[in-house]
Symmetry: C7
Subunit: 84 residues, 7 copies
């Protein structure tokens, strides 16, 4: 039985697949944003809808829409079931 082969996923391809899905974004300075990915560009700037903000593990607000600058991003995690 042949081994399942999966095609590699380019980082920006993962973002493309995550459009309209929930993501979690870790940003320098202990900031976490979670919401629906609405858009991105090659600099990993992200547009997030209904973005909940967590600073130092405390909820600190919700934004209808947020543009997070890619420079400060540590990671982007599609939510479970998302990004496919």
């Amino acid at each position: 039985m042949p081994k399942t082969v999966t095609a590699p996923i380019k980082p920006l391809e993962l973002l493309r697949r995550s459009i309209d899905s929930n993501i979690m974004v870790e940003v320098r300075g202990n900031r976490l944003y979670s919401g629906v990915l609405e858009g991105y560009d090659v600099y990993m700037n992200l547009v997030i809808r209904n973005a909940g903000e967590t600073i130092n593990e405390k909820n600190s607000g919700v934004f209808q829409r947020l543009l997070v600058r890619g420079d400060n991003v540590i990671f982007v995690a599609p939510s479970i079931g998302g990004g496919e």
Copy 2:
């Protein structure tokens, strides 16, 4: 009934739509600026009118007009009802 499909929004497109609307800009060093977006460029440098400044959660002044350098921006949030 078909699922509503929304076109993705590129980060700079969100800025373009936010011209003449209120935005909030978080900048490194616990700085927050809010006012009316007057202009921007691809480096995310921003021109803000009637810009209120908050440092470490204290109001620290109002500027008739401010050019915020994109390098230090963490996020830009259009105010509720703005950015559409």
Copy 3:
């Protein structure tokens, strides 16, 4: 009565308009410089005349002329009445 429409102002355009006017420049490390803008380039390097320096909110000197490197700039604010 139609709403007044204003053309967007590109960040470098704001600098161009501020030539020969007073500006205030916030620089990383709690440094503030105020004086007359004499020149700039696309990197936001600035030439300032009669530049007063404030470090940690204390006056620390005046320079006949100063070249501030754009890399460290946080914001540039035209003085009230300036930049128009």
Copy 4:
């Protein structure tokens, strides 16, 4: 008996060979991610599957899929037996 000569391995070539293998990624801020490498790009942005996160040597979660931004990467280590 001739000395064994090995061809040099370019850094991105090591990533290419590590696709579908386990890797460990050290990221600034005492963050460690380990999982299966699914993709990468020339900026060393990485897509990792089943990514366990360790912060300050404590397990802090598992992500089904993670996009780690290359800017913050300190090193990538293919797991023993991997990367070949």
Copy 5:
């Protein structure tokens, strides 16, 4: 009587005019260098002759010649009477 109009001075032009004159250079990490500007390039790397070094406001040495890397420069100030 017409207002005196002065042409704007590009930042690199100020450096060009300061060749063979005294300058003061503030560098990140509370470092100050003063001496005669001998050369520069577009990255604002500077060659300074008879460069006195001040760290945390204490004299810490004199260098016959110094190449200061532009990346760390905060400002360059031509000495009074210099840079014209």
Copy 6:
């Protein structure tokens, strides 16, 4: 008797000569890696075989193979006898 003249060695040339030799790499954050250089690129990303890791002067592990990102490198030292 003429003075021995040596040709200058470009930095990347030193890396090329160090392939298959032992090197020591100092990385920001008090990290030291030593092992056999297997590859490099123009960004000074390095592939190291049998890489011993020292953090704050304590041994903290050995990696069969390590890709160190060039951005964080402070210096690379070929071991004595190496790099020639």
Copy 7:
């Protein structure tokens, strides 16, 4: 009697003239390296022979040959009599 006019010295030109001479290199993190400059490139990466290392003003070792990454360089000083 005419004033002596000296041609400006470009920063990289100073490095070129310093080949085979002693230099001192200050690097971020209170690191100082001194030895004979063997090579350099446009990024100010430096190859130094017989490089003595001083950290926080304590001697901490000598390297037969060292490649110092330009990114972290604060200044390069040709030793007295050198660089000419």
